[in-house]
């Protein structure tokens, strides 16, 4: 069992947990992920290593509550334990001094982009970061991102904080205004955001790296459920990725595959909410 040592609520639906898992912390690098299972009944879900502390033997995860498993995870507190915690999985980000780079983090993607931006900065890059979310309440780690970026652009879809824009807008301006200057772009966020970042950078031929979030089970190459179509054929995100050249990804296939279990996911959430209500009633009844 893997104890949760700390928990922070970053927004209504975004939570941070610090988990004791020395065997993972010893090895983890930016860009890698872990597979988590809450309890005996739980599914195995992939979450990116948002930060690690080798000495303390801990891994920090940040997740957005989008379905049953992440909602359940969001109810856990410091002192609770996770049944499964495997990693670090996938390849680490290839960090080099590329020159000027842009790191784009959308929504919960701000968490995994942070260690990448930090590592790029440490490697001597000039780091421009763009972070965005639907609204102010969903935004987090602005201060941390600022600390590792030479320039930081913040946007929200509704303009409740920073610039009212989608992340692709300032990105396009940068590409226009500083032709030939930007050596590489990293983008992590919802599939649809990564697709549009990819479409934005493609005409400028700027190499663009995305971290794909396909549905996974084992995370070790055993099931093939995470496969993505690239120009050269199907690849397994968990072992060949999770980072890929955005311009080679068949985005529509990726987005369709994320929807495969939508009906089941809806059922699971309904059942979960029902259970939570029941528990609430019981607790109140008992008090």
């Amino acid at each position: 069992m893997y104890p949760i040592l700390e928990k922070q609520v970053l927004s209504d639906v975004t939570k941070l947990i610090v988990v004791k898992a020395p065997q993972v912390a010893r090895k983890a690098k930016a860009g890698q992920f872990v597979i988590v299972r809450i309890d005996e009944y739980g599914e195995r879900i992939p979450l990116t290593v948002a930060d690690y502390d080798r000495e303390a033997g801990t891994i920090t995860l940040i997740f957005q509550e989008v379905g049953k498993s992440t909602m359940h995870l969001g109810t856990l507190e410091a002192g609770d334990e996770l049944a499964t915690f495997v990693g670090p999985l996938g390849h680490a980000t290839e960090i080099e001094n590329y020159g000027t780079v842009v790191c784009v983090g959308g929504g919960v993607g701000i968490a995994p982009i942070f260690p990448i931006a930090r590592a790029l900065k440490e490697a001597g890059n000039y780091v421009i970061s763009i972070i965005g979310a639907r609204n102010k309440d969903l935004l987090f780690w602005e201060d941390r991102m600022r600390a590792v970026s030479d320039e930081l652009i913040v946007c929200t879809d509704d303009g409740s904080h920073g610039r009212k824009a989608l992340v692709t807008e300032p990105l396009k301006e940068l590409l226009e205004e500083r032709p030939g200057e930007i050596a590489r772009v990293w983008a992590i966020g919802p599939g649809i955001m990564m697709k549009f970042v990819s479409l934005t950078t493609q005409p400028y031929k700027v190499p663009t790296i995305v971290s794909l979030n396909t549905i996974m089970i084992d995370g070790t190459g055993m099931c093939g459920g995470c496969r993505v179509l690239l120009e050269e054929g199907a690849r397994f995100v968990c072992v060949d990725g999770p980072e890929f050249d955005a311009h080679k990804v068949d985005w529509d296939n990726l987005l369709a595959r994320q929807q495969f279990y939508r009906e089941e996911e809806r059922l699971a959430v309904e059942r979960w909410e029902h259970e939570c209500r029941l528990e609430g009633v019981l607790r109140e009844g008992g008090a």
Partner: protein, 482 residues
């Protein structure tokens, strides 16, 4: 009854094992074959002629002392039967259920030549189940040797190697990447064929008796590497199996509803998807399922699909749907265990022989909606001795499907070979070893099971684990150098 003449013994018919009715079992995940009663087992045991030179034993990869255990069983001495069994086989309740007996021990039984062989597997299962329920004969171990061995992978190869080394008093730690031990026994073979209570019963029993440590959630090659294990352990055994799925290289394999049997079976078995939403992992099949391939894996995928369809339709009055096995060769070449094919047919799985997919079609949402196949004919025998299937030109036809499950060959997962220089592999990705000892080309590293042979059988993996354990023991005790 023990003083029967040979002639009388030979007149006893082979005893059938009671099984759940096909119409009922296709609507549940409970075990299909119910096992012998004591009376049936004793009667079946009477059929064995107690050959002086028992050929049946030659057919068994771990050389179970077949006539001896059957004799004890016949005499009603169950404790002795268990003891004799455990000399060679630490997992009888498992082997008795899943060994392809008809091509191993039973095919060699003298009675097979004249009629029907002794039902060795069913008797073995009876003994195994008896022991699981009563635990009469705990495995005992020698004095601690102070030596430490790491076993990578907790499938039949790794478990058997661990048990044999544990018995010799060595300190054994098993590293397993998944959250539960057992390998294919846990994630692949379904509950209705091999109940997980049996798998975990056998594993817990051995582990408790011998003080073996199992560390789940450890992916060797990621969490730790082979070279790191070699720093901490005196010897390492690789039993990582052949878990990498393959897909046909045809257009359309990434539509929703197309999956590997590994994914499908892992959802169903390891994650207990058939009990969704009680368990969180969903699994779904459509109304027209095509399973490509005809090995044990394909039968398991087809029979799980059938059950999921039936469970879904229960009480709705709807037609549950159809499950097809699509196989490019003919019935004679089907590699699955005979009993599984028989059970699959009884349950209503439809077999499309001499048929091969060439393309998968999807609808506007990216969901699979059809498959183009081509008819095949059999040509000359190929390297494997089986007649090679050849496409018949112009014979393409389309079928309507909403789920396609690939149950093709699997190969070793290469993750474990990260940071393992010097470990030689074949062009198929399997590990090169010495047949007798299981030694790899890397000092202090042994390997066995599917990672060496490619997808094979439970008992052959156990045999490899045993041979390696014997050599590791000699090495650790200084009786053999590297």
């Amino acid at each position: 009854m023990s003083d029967l003449t040979q002639r009388e013994r030979m007149q006893i018919p082979r005893q059938e094992m009671p099984a759940q009715d096909p119409g009922i079992r296709r609507g549940n995940f409970d075990e299909v074959a119910l096992g012998f009663t004591e009376a049936l087992a004793r009667r079946e045991a009477e059929r064995c002629l107690q050959c002086a030179r028992p050929e049946c034993v030659e057919g068994c990869p771990v050389e179970v002392l077949i006539p001896q255990f059957i004799r004890a069983l016949r005499d009603g001495d169950m404790i002795e039967a268990v003891r004799v069994m455990k000399v060679k086989n630490g997992l009888p309740a498992i082997c008795g259920r899943v060994c392809p007996q008809e091509v191993q021990c039973e095919i060699k039984c003298v009675l097979a030549k004249k009629g029907e062989p002794v039902a060795i597997g069913r008797l073995e299962r009876f003994v195994g189940d008896y022991e699981l329920a009563r635990r009469t004969c705990p495995l005992d171990c020698c004095e601690p040797s102070g030596k430490k061995v790491a076993i990578v992978g907790s499938g039949p190869a790794g478990l058997t190697c661990a048990v044999d080394l544990g018995r010799e008093g060595h300190g054994v730690t098993i590293f397993e990447s998944l959250h539960a031990p057992g390998g294919v026994l846990t994630y692949g073979i379904p509950e209705f064929r091999l109940p997980k209570s049996v798998v975990h019963g056998e594993i817990d029993y051995a582990v408790e008796c011998l003080g073996i440590e199992i560390r789940t959630d450890h992916v060797i090659g990621r969490t730790l590497t082979l070279n790191e294990l070699l720093e901490k352990f005196d010897a390492v055994f690789l039993g990582t199996g052949a878990g990498l799925p393959s897909f046909l290289r045809i257009p359309g394999i990434n539509y929703n509803g197309v999956m590997s049997a590994n994914e499908f079976l892992t959802r169903v078995n390891l994650m207990k998807g058939y009990r969704f939403p009680e368990y969180d992992t969903p699994v779904k099949v459509g109304k027209r399922v095509a399973v490509v391939g005809a090995g044990n894996v394909a039968m398991d995928a087809a029979r799980c699909s059938l059950r999921l369809q039936t469970l879904r339709a229960q009480g709705t009055g709807e037609n549950p749907g159809e499950v097809h096995i699509v196989y490019r060769r003919s019935r004679a070449e089907v590699p699955a265990r005979a009993e599984e094919v028989h059970h699959a047919e009884e349950e209503g799985v439809i077999f499309d022989f001499l048929t091969n997919p060439v393309e998968i079609f999807g609808d506007e949402h990216g969901n699979v909606c059809g498959m183009r196949c081509i008819r095949m004919q059999l040509g000359e025998p190929d390297g494997s001795g089986r007649r090679r299937p050849i496409p018949i030109e112009g014979s393409e036809f389309d079928i309507e499907v909403d789920t396609v499950i690939f149950a093709l060959g699997t190969s070793p997962n290469p993750l474990v070979f990260v940071d393992a220089e010097g470990l030689e592999r074949t062009k198929w990705g399997t590990v090169v070893t010495d047949q007798e000892t299981g030694r790899t080309t890397k000092p202090r590293v042994w390997a066995g099971g599917d990672v060496v042979t490619g997808a094979a059988t439970v008992v052959s993996a156990m045999g490899a684990g045993k041979r390696a354990a014997a050599d590791i023991h000699r090495f650790l005790m200084g009786e053999a150098s590297w």
